[in-house]
Symmetry: C2
């Protein structure tokens, strides 16, 4: 809902977040090749790791370890969704709760992991996941430098919303690293195609 | 304390955060000129704005407004401190609480604003400030793209701690935009010179 308000506010503003989003979406359409049905995510993002959400103290204890994509996807059925950021509107109110509420349906379909990823550091992402009480159902991974989303051409400039370079809103069903279903929203305000209900029908 | 642990962990790790910090500190020593005693912060960071910490919905309502430095510093006595990030160790456990607990002493010395700034988006910073119960005493401002800290040569690469480009840990006493006292830690694990006690003695 808040993103809908954002869209209205943006309509009245020449330097709006939504105009940036539209421009970024147009760019993305021209560079669609990086991720599509059949893409092997591990190969498409070589040498890229994600960072498991955790507290700062856990980060220190782990010596700031990261998780190679291979460990996340190999021999697994994964549902992964990306979103613009912790502590933003639709992400908090709709996108994450939809996956959390349907976790039993995903498990019943044989999904090994439901993963949320965002261009945030893993400590911020962990605090947000705890606040949403979603960290038991969903695995959260940070992409603090955006390298994962950049490799897949899934970044967008949300500087006009005071966020900087972030992830588009998207979801994918991935089997042993291969993309079997992919849904990318045209605007980050939308949860038209990237919500839990849609991808449940694609598994 | 957690950063002390980080330092120990880093000592045993070839790709440690602390080594990056040391390297960055060395670079900083060579480029000290941008901010020093007497610097006019508003002139040193032209066309730079900060983003008042707020919820996403407040961000939408404000049309994602930003605050020019002139509004923050002009005709005011300001104590400002910067830190590596929301939801990290020393920042949460020591740096912010020190300023919060001494807010009455700052006010008694005629300080108009005590400001915390970090390379975070304003929504994340707001959630963290609320968690620390510090947002009534201290004003929090995000520097989401790091442009404020870059202008003042106060950034450091904390990618090894999974944070990316962030602020050094620092504090300053600023009167009508002019820096009257400046304290920059050599390592972000330290609160040797940038804490509330030190700057209280410099006002």
């Amino acid at each position: 809902m808040a993103w809908v308000v954002a869209k209205r506010a943006a309509a009245a503003s020449s330097s709006s977040a939504m105009k940036s989003v539209s421009a970024a979406a147009a760019i993305w359409m021209r560079s669609y090749a990086k991720v599509a049905l059949g893409t092997d995510i591990v190969s498409a993002a070589p040498n890229v790791s994600l960072q498991k959400a955790r507290t700062w103290d856990e980060g220190v204890s782990s010596k700031f370890s990261t998780t190679p994509l291979n460990h996340i996807f190999k021999d697994k059925k994964v549902v992964i969704f990306g979103l613009p950021g912790a502590y933003t509107g639709v992400c908090s109110n709709k996108h994450v709760p939809g996956y959390k509420e349907n976790i039993d349906k995903f498990k019943a379909k044989g999904i090994d992991s439901v993963i949320c990823v965002a261009v945030n550091d893993p400590y911020t992402l962990n605090a947000w996941a705890e606040k949403l009480q979603a960290n038991n159902a969903i695995e959260f991974y940070g992409d603090f430098d955006g390298s994962f989303h950049k490799s897949l051409d899934l970044v967008t400039d949300l500087s006009s919303a005071l966020l900087g370079t972030r992830s588009k809103r998207w979801s994918a069903y991935v089997v042993d690293g291969k993309v079997k279903a992919l849904n990318v929203e045209e605007a980050p305000s939308d949860v038209k195609v990237s919500g839990a209900d849609t991808i449940l029908g694609q598994i």
